[in-house]
């Protein structure tokens, strides 16, 4: 499981390699997000294209990132999703909440 962060201009990027289905992976996402947030990024793009499985631990952390950004007029975006992760986002209607960064 790997979380790579990158800053390009105003945007912060988090690329997740592995699955978001445990407390540990959720916690790692939180840390990666905090790193970008603390550096002043208010637009963060989550790249979950390499994630096969996501469960409530992962979803909970994604929503926490969303709420934290929203409270400061920021925005959480996602790279185009596919497979099970896309299905889960649609089921929980997160696709309506998180704009896509193409």
């Amino acid at each position: 499981m790997e979380f790579n962060t990158e800053i390009i201009g105003d945007k912060g990027y988090i690329r997740v390699e592995g699955d978001l289905d445990s407390e540990q992976s959720g916690e790692a996402l939180r840390k990666a997000f905090n790193d970008l947030f603390d550096k002043g990024r208010r637009t963060v793009v989550l790249d979950l294209t390499s994630v096969q499985i996501i469960n409530s631990y992962g979803i909970g952390k994604v929503l926490m990132c969303y709420k934290r950004l929203k409270s400061e007029n920021g925005v959480l975006m996602v790279k185009p999703l596919a497979g099970f992760v896309k299905e889960t986002f649609e089921l929980l209607m997160l696709d309506k909440l998180l704009p896509v960064d193409n």
């Binding site: 289905d21 499985i53 469960n55 409530s56 979803i59 909970g60 929503l63 926490m64």
Partner: protein, 324 residues
Amino acid sequence: MDKDADCNKSSSEGESKNAVPRVLFADRDLSTVELVTSCFAHRGWSLETVGLEASAEGNPLVERMKRGTFDVVVADLLMPGLDGMSLLRQIRTQRPSQPIIVVSACHSVGDFLSFMREGVSDVLQKPVDADSLTRAVRRAVLSSRDRERGDSVYRYVAHEETELVFTSRELADVRVSLGILDRLVAARMIDIGMKLRIDLAFQELVANALEHGNLELESSWKEDLDSQGLDRFSLVKRERLADDNFGGRIVKVSVSYVSGMLTVAVQDEGLGFIPDVPEEWKTESLDPHGRGLAMIFAATDEVEFSKVASPGHGTRVRFRKRLV
């Protein structure tokens, strides 16, 4: 072609003992009988030959098949004076899934198609080449054994009931999985996507029983961070796992798969809690938690919550999913 050399070459590739095919061969053409007998003998395969001339007792091929089973039947069904298609249908009536290879000196495209429609494994042109026959027999045996394996897996998983008991501490350390799902995938009764959805629903149930049931943790604590950025949820979880009053509590998991219906129940020893289940999951609800329930509902046909009245407390959550 040097038939013996060819047979020896193939034989040296090795044939495991339990894979020795039992072949019933029916032909009137002596040169083909000779070739097949010689080739099979070199390979160590089990071969039995019968004639095709009908007598008062009926056709010897059909009669022989009534008295024994064979992996493959090889027969020339296009001989003068023989109604091969009728013979084939008699075999099919007797043994619907019997692998059959047809050999014939001259068959039209129409004959070929008719045989294939009747489900024969292969149609070979005479004079039969030892290599082609060997390959055809192998293919037929393998596909037949694959089918048998699938059938036996199906029987194996057709009825299964399991009950497992874990302490909270054990559950925190291990990932419990539903082995039945792997067996159903192996039997090609469900696909990987279905397995994944049901497994995640199960993981959500188990996590719920452990964290909110036995350890009595509040979801909102996940957002309650201390000065070092550690959340209260994780800290209290650690403390309670070490405390026998919480860490020693039991989670019971029972799984049954009967006649295509999967029923999974998870029971904890917590205070007993029945969640409010919204009629519709709404985007406006931004609670970072409680999404697991939506995943359980989406992956299953029916979810039922009940408080456990005795011997202590707790909640029992059961889901059902029709898989076949």
